[in-house]
Symmetry: C3
Subunit: 268 residues, 3 copies
Amino acid sequence: MRVVTLLSDFGLRDGYVAEMKGTILDLCPSAVITDISHDIERHNIPMGSFILETTVPYFPKDTIHVAVVDPGVGSDRRAIVIECEKASFVGPDNGLMARASEKLGLKAIYEIREEEFQRKPVSSTFHGRDIFVYTAGLLASGRRPEEVGPRVSRLETLDLSPPTLLGKRLDCHVLHVDVFGNVITDVGEKMVRKMPVKFGEGVEILSGVRKPQAQYVRSYHEVAVLSLYDSLPHFCCSKRGSVEHRYLLNPHTRLLQKPTCQRLICEN
Amino acid sequence: MRVVTLLSDFGLRDGYVAEMKGTILDLCPSAVITDISHDIERHNIPMGSFILETTVPYFPKDTIHVAVVDPGVGSDRRAIVIECEKASFVGPDNGLMARASEKLGLKAIYEIREEEFQRKPVSSTFHGRDIFVYTAGLLASGRRPEEVGPRVSRLETLDLSPPTLLGKRLDCHVLHVDVFGNVITDVGEKMVRKMPVKFGEGVEILSGVRKPQAQYVRSYHEVAVLSLYDSLPHFCCSKRGSVEHRYLLNPHTRLLQKPTCQRLICEN
Amino acid sequence: MRVVTLLSDFGLRDGYVAEMKGTILDLCPSAVITDISHDIERHNIPMGSFILETTVPYFPKDTIHVAVVDPGVGSDRRAIVIECEKASFVGPDNGLMARASEKLGLKAIYEIREEEFQRKPVSSTFHGRDIFVYTAGLLASGRRPEEVGPRVSRLETLDLSPPTLLGKRLDCHVLHVDVFGNVITDVGEKMVRKMPVKFGEGVEILSGVRKPQAQYVRSYHEVAVLSLYDSLPHFCCSKRGSVEHRYLLNPHTRLLQKPTCQRLICEN
């Protein structure tokens, strides 16, 4: 019994996700299929990468994670299997799986080239079904990553500059705005800890001409606006009561924070 | 093999539900995980309670139901396991599981205190993952409710006055407006049967200054506006063709009905 | 172990789908339940039919497909089981399952009449739970289609005129507009191949007074507007960048295409 997870930007309204699940069950009837999310914004690789890397550590060892946010389907981007110490990944080589696979102990990368790991005829628009889950279904039934094709030395990474804390200035990106209105950036917990802001102190968020009041708190049970959302190793701006802020901070917004004056400057 | 159900207000777009599923599968690989709903309105405990109590009777004996609508996470509200004759419940002690657990034969309540039933470090904002499903995963793999912590004598209940039928006047609350536009109240089937309205008779709904025409019918295949929706033991106002009424009757709206004159008075 | 799939217009917000899953697991604990889609537009039988027929070929042999888009619930439309060479279908006899069951090798149709295949009391509004999945759960645990009731000779079909290619004029219907903005019609691949348009050629779509430019291409990785979406055996208009067109082409829109002048005429 192997767990196979699915992440995509296909949504659940159409039949695409079900076609992938049927394909897996047809190849490996004992597979336990679990959705991570199918509501990744269309072609938003950084968002998919974030949801993937924060979720996969909770799954059992040897889980097979299939991730399909694939604007380059039909082009010459590679289809790959990433073998990690704790799991395997199957999907396009476009940065989507890079951070998640590093987190789970990347061991080797293989390009899917062998014909028997592809359903024929391969659609030019739906590799999720004809290559990725087809390969995952075979892996779940006992085939080995090294059988799918030649070993590859390098993985494509996300096209985002890393966050920096230089003097009083923190420069980062918004990765995701979640259902609770948390604005999740690419600032990791370590960098958050280095900032001189203390729990309970007031801060100010500058978003264009708006200056909403904020407070740096630990839990959103307190009246929190700006908080360290500690269930994620990422710096979050959490907001209760109003979702107005969600429309100002879209994924990929660049955030500037000046921590010594307790200000988070948001420039859209 | 144990069935574990999940209900929450987390939505399916983020990775939170998948983190819970991964946690369960990691602790109990043979668990069969089934979603009840993750689209409960945020922090809407009465709606979550309604969806939970109407759904759980259909699941097999010994199912473990995890319910997480938890505005008090991080406060001192208790994390509990409710042992019932037909199932177990795991979640916050905030009224969410009270009606469902009564329906399935409440036997005992335990507070989750033992360290081994909590993933360390426990997040202050995501007890769904670090306490509730962690406990559920252990229960699914054979641990007993009485091992999680001390027995508790009292359960928090929903903060809603019960519906009353006094003379000609029925006073109730809207619990939920479903996908078909059914307006579901907390009036039970018994009270509905006591009302002198007969199937086929015309009624009038007063919602502020509007007075939509309605008819008291059994099935929405007939031209139904106001109906006894008999697949639920609740009084419903069903509406076809237009969803206009959904925007007038939000959850928690108070409804007043005067049955002898076949009127349903809706006061927002 | 039998796979049971579910398709409906119930959405996932309410508890209705979970009630169906609980019912199946109660009758057949080893059933593997997989969602096809629960976001079929309410009462839109052609859309449900399309999602069903394109999805079911990917599932394992002997899968039981339950489909519930059922505006006639409570009327005298029949509840049926369709036995096919590769799978079984359970649902209302209203055209929803006709094309899918033909595709999987229709063998026999049975009306669900026997009392033991219905949960008592049968709700007049929720046959999905009380008849369809109840029957499916029993079939999954080993009961035979011919046990559910008398054999039926004729299946209701979809109420849509078939697409025609007469001279320069192609006449078809929009079945579905998918999450990527693909406008999927009922023109099959064979008819598409007969059209004299070549990949790369420009075409023009006439939708009322608008005339968006389009191109007939194979993959949406190219700058595609009008394309043969070859992962589906249907003619699609695919569009990237803008979803404006989704609001013009609703399901059931009639499309007229004049292929020799490379025009797709869309009349709402």
